[in-house]
């Protein structure tokens, strides 16, 4: 047995190791769900409602069924069960049955020998509709006289946060109404899956998803199969950002495979993707902030209405987040926040990066700037004065403990280097860019800062856990660790986290992260910035148990002095289920410990605005983010820069435009995504205060970049133009003409929006 010191490990926690999945992704050999194929495979297509609200009078599939190459056509009448699906409410039929509630709702399915014939057959399905007037204003949908879109009524969720004295008064009060447009996740990889019937009557689904086991739960019930007969394997995922938390084509592909006894692949095109997945909740927010003359916050009151669209999806959690984090990362002794999610006939909305927190942060950060102006105070100083400190309680009465560097983030972010002046001789660097439309005459510069926060992991007594199996074996004389979890790698880098944690914890260079599937217990979703904390934590816990066995086998010798492979005559395998500390269920006033821990960030934006054309060039975004500990600094910076790009999109570019419930821009030509020309340099400042409950102190980093980047950019545009800009995305008209969004509802901050008057 060797007693030489072991070679130093490469790619441990804290190092910017390259991703193991990067080489095949650059070669084009990494297989995404849409790349999968099997011999004899059929192609599925979906018939969708063109109406936002209608009764289905009849469906005639005879023409479609008669077309050459068509193997199956299914409608609601052909379903094996009447079960519904949904992430938090089982309210969505697998295929519309008698009524459609949004434009794009699936009505029928086709399987054919090739994708083109499937598409043509889907067009040949004749559905007779009796259109009804769509209910598209979420405040109108909440009123008692509104038609009920679901049997239970139109309120999906209703959350009140009552803290201190909800009727508190203050020396200085500012108020405002705000609006958020509908953003799309626009992951580049389309929804895709391959369902293969199994000989035992079950089915195996290779799927691009964020959460294999939640899909499994919903699929099995709707297929009428026990969960043991439904197997899910993670296929390559081309981005997610929340859009893959819901079931889209999963049940449909399995139904077609079971009906035809052949493998069936379904892949959405881009237009269908816009109809097929949930979006970010549009929101209307009414806010009132009160402070003493020295700038100490006294109260926050708010009413928040979130548009859930036709089905609930994750709306209950989005509503709760909007309310719980609705006062920002500040000490607020008195609060009344009333948030309600409404069913409408708009496209369903659900998870997108930072959900709930994104919507309210845009409003409360605008309010903080208004308050600073009313107090004639520096906006950074106002935020510093009120920043949450260790032991302070957020408006849900939960103390923040462990790591909460809010004031430090604000100060550091404000002090990061500013960009140089605009290059007067380079029109491409000006607003309008390659459009070459200004020489800078009407260009004004603005800089502003915003801060935000949200929870990490699942809240409110959800049984949040992750499962990891670590198997340490000897191969050709070398110790190799195999790590299996069901955690979905969607691009964010959980593969890296698992590799680096296992390498560090075991002291083994070679770590192989296996393809996630449902043969192991759930890892929970790749959402809520939780996988580093939860699955990183599960892998660490399993490695700790493996190490304990190594120590036993070392029989008193120091592991550091040994060749671990020599201890592996028998492999070591440990399976661990890891939970975070329990949280409390939400009570009537939302006053208790509902959350595990919090993530904080500050963003500072500098913009050049052409006040003549209303075009904006974001010149720089600087950020200080609380990351706990950066397991892989380059990957963390990648999350920050990518999240800021999406925040920039919401600030000035991205909106799914609706009219009467119809999506008017379901394409990448008309839905504008930031390109390399739109993205400014990002200055990233990682603030590391390890959280005692997280693996190596690493808190999770995915969502904060999208939370306060949007309000920082809009505040910078306000600073440059003096315009009110109470709505995102900011449009050129808003800048040139000073357009202000008004809902047409008379609501005071804190009012119950279910009793609102127009005017």
């Amino acid at each position: 047995m060797s007693v030489a010191a072991r070679p130093r490990l490469r790619g441990v926690v804290g190092e910017s190791a390259p991703r193991s999945d990067a080489p095949p992704k650059t070669l084009g050999s990494f297989l995404y769900a849409s790349d999968l194929a099997r011999d004899g495979m059929l192609h599925g297509a979906t018939v969708r409602s063109p109406h936002a609200r209608a009764r289905i009078v009849g469906i005639d599939v005879s023409a479609a069924r008669a077309m050459p190459g068509v193997v199956a056509v299914l409608t609601a009448a052909d379903l094996p069960t009447r079960e519904k699906f949904g992430l938090m409410r089982l309210d969505q039929p697998v295929l519309a049955d008698g009524v459609v509630r949004y434009c794009g709702e699936p009505v029928a399915l086709v399987a054919a020998e090739d994708a083109e014939r499937a598409r043509l057959a889907a067009q040949a399905v004749r559905v007779a509709y009796e259109p009804l007037p769509p209910l598209t204003d979420p405040v109108a949908a909440l009123q008692p006289e509104a038609p009920r879109l679901h049997d239970e009524g139109n309120v999906i969720e209703d959350v009140r946060v009552v803290h201190g004295d909800p009727a508190a008064t203050a020396d200085v009060v500012v108020e405002g109404e705000y609006e958020i447009g509908m953003q799309d996740q626009a992951a580049l990889g389309p929804e895709a899956g391959l369902a293969i019937p199994d000989p035992d009557g079950g089915v195996t689904l290779h799927i691009a998803t964020q959460w294999l086991h939640e899909d499994l739960r919903q699929i099995a019930v709707c297929l009428g199969l026990p969960e043991e007969k439904v197997r899910l394997v993670l296929a390559g995922v081309g981005g997610a950002f929340g859009a893959r938390e819901d079931v889209t084509l999963q049940i449909h592909a399995c139904l077609l495979a079971l009906a035809t006894r052949r493998p069936v692949r379904m892949v959405y095109g881009r237009e269908e993707s816009f109809y097929g997945h949930v979006h970010r909740h549009p929101a209307r927010l009414w806010y009132e902030h009160g402070a003493t003359r020295d700038g100490t916050l006294v109260f926050v009151r708010a009413t928040i209405v979130l548009d859930g669209g036709g089905y609930a999806s994750s709306s209950p959690a989005v509503v709760a987040n909007a309310a719980c984090f609705g006062a920002g990362p500040y000490r607020v002794p008195n609060a009344l926040i009333h948030a309600v999610g409404a069913y409408t006939n708009n496209p369903p909305t659900g998870a997108m990066r930072g959900f709930g927190a994104v919507q309210s942060c845009f409003a409360y950060e605008a309010q903080m700037d208004k308050l600073a102006a009313a107090l004639r105070m520096d906006p950074v100083a106002l935020r510093m004065r009120n920043a949450l400190q260790d032991g302070d309680r957020i408006v849900t009465d939960q103390p923040v403990v462990g790591s909460e560097p809010v004031a430090e983030l604000v100060r550091r972010c404000a002090d990061l280097p500013l960009p140089g002046p605009a290059a007067a001789d380079d029109p491409v660097a000006m607003p309008g860019g390659v459009g070459n439309i200004t020489r800078g005459e009407g260009v004004r510069r603005g800089t502003a800062l915003a801060a935000g926060f949200k929870n990490v992991c699942y809240s409110h007594a959800f049984d949040d856990f992750s499962t990891a199996r670590v198997r340490l074996v000897r191969e050709r004389g070398e110790a190799v660790a195999y790590v299996l979890t069901a955690a979905a790698e969607v691009g964010q880098g959980i593969v890296l986290v698992c590799e680096q944690v296992a390498r560090t914890a075991l002291g083994v260079q070679r770590v192989v992260v296996e393809t996630p599937d449902t043969s192991i217990g759930s890892a929970g979703s790749s959402s809520a910035s939780r996988q580093t904390w939860m699955t990183g934590g599960a892998v660490l816990a399993a490695c700790t148990e493996v190490t304990a066995e190594l120590v036993r086998r070392a029989a008193g010798r120091r592991l550091e002095d040994l060749d671990i492979a020599a201890l592996l005559d028998e492999p070591i395998e440990r399976l661990v289920t890891h939970r975070h500390r329990p949280t409390e269920p939400r009570n009537a006033t939302t006053q208790n410990d509902g959350h595990v821990a919090f993530l904080f960030a500050a963003h500072r934006a500098t913009v050049d605005v052409d006040v003549e054309t209303g075009l904006v060039k974001v010149v720089q975004v600087a950020t200080s983010q609380d990351v706990g500990r950066a397991i892989n600094p380059v990957a963390v910076v990648g999350q920050l820069e990518g999240g800021i790009a999406q925040g920039l999109g919401l600030a000035v570019m991205e909106e799914l435009q609706l009219r009467d419930g119809q999506v008017r821009n379901a394409s990448f030509t008309d839905y504008l995504l930031p390109t390399m020309l739109d993205m400014p340099p990002v200055v990233c400042d990682l603030v590391e205060h390890p959280h005692p409950d997280a693996p190596y102190g690493a808190k999770g980093v995915g969502e904060p970049p999208t939370i306060s980047s949007t309000p920082a950019i809009v505040a910078a545009i306000r600073a440059a133009t003096g315009r009110e800009l109470n709505r995102v995305p900011v449009r050129p008209d808003d800048i040139v003409f000073g357009t202000v969004a008004r809902s047409g509802w008379r609501i005071r901050a804190g009012d119950d929006p279910r009793r609102a008057a127009r005017g």
């Binding site: 910017s16 390259p18 991703r19 999945d21 990067a22 080489p23 095949p24 992704k25 650059t26 070669l27 084009g28 050999s29 297989l31 995404y32 849409s34 790349d35 994708a115 083109e116 996740q185 626009a186 992951a187 580049l188 990889g189 389309p190 995922v237 081309g238 981005g239 997610a240 950002f241 892949v267 095109g269 881009r270 380079d426 491409v428 660097a429 390659v434 969607v490 691009g491 964010q492 880098g493 380059v634 990957a635 910076v637 990648g638 920050l640 820069e641 990518g642 999240g643 800021i644 790009a645 999406q646 394409s667 990448f668 030509t669 995504l673 390109t675 390399m676 020309l677 993205m679 990002v682």
Partner: protein, 148 residues
């Protein structure tokens, strides 16, 4: 010619080069993300020119030299551009990566030492939803450096 090998297929009506590559020729490296030439995920070289293969009919590629991402490196021997993307941390979900790799190779062939504005203009037709482009910009500079 596809990736240096003569390939014969029956071009179907309305079929894009991208669909032919992916579905008939077993080359799924070129990605289908927008189907209308907005995102660059399907970028290939046709007679050395960068094109969106989703916008070209498969029949129009007859007798021409098509090179896809699959032709530029192998497992264990990445093309310098591919290696630069790996090293810079420019790959997250990776769906846009094949298109960026091909577009970057085309850029560096015509301009071996591009400036930031030249890179941004050349790659503005490629959309990435994950990275915010900072690491991609760095990867292109690294690749340009490795060309020298």
């Amino acid at each position: 010619m596809v990736n240096g090998t003569p390939r014969e297929i029956e071009a179907r009506e309305h079929e894009s080069l991208l669909t032919a590559l992916r579905e008939q020729l077993g080359l799924p490296g070129s990605k289908d993300a927008c189907e209308q030439g907005e995102c660059g995920s399907c970028s290939v070289l046709v007679d050395g020119e960068l094109v969106c293969s989703c916008l070209m009919l498969s029949g129009a590629a007859a007798e021409r030299d098509v090179r896809t991402v699959e032709s530029f490196g192998t497992d264990g021997a990445l093309h310098p551009v591919q290696q630069a993307f790996v090293d810079a941390g420019a790959v997250q979900c990776g769906f846009c990566t094949p298109g960026f790799v091909v577009s970057t190779i085309a850029l560096l062939q015509r301009n071996p030492e591009p400036t930031d504005p030249e890179i941004k203009e050349a790659l503005a037709g490629n959309i990435c939803r994950c990275t915010g482009y900072g690491k991609i910009l760095e990867a292109v500079h690294r690749a340009a450096g490795s060309h020298r």
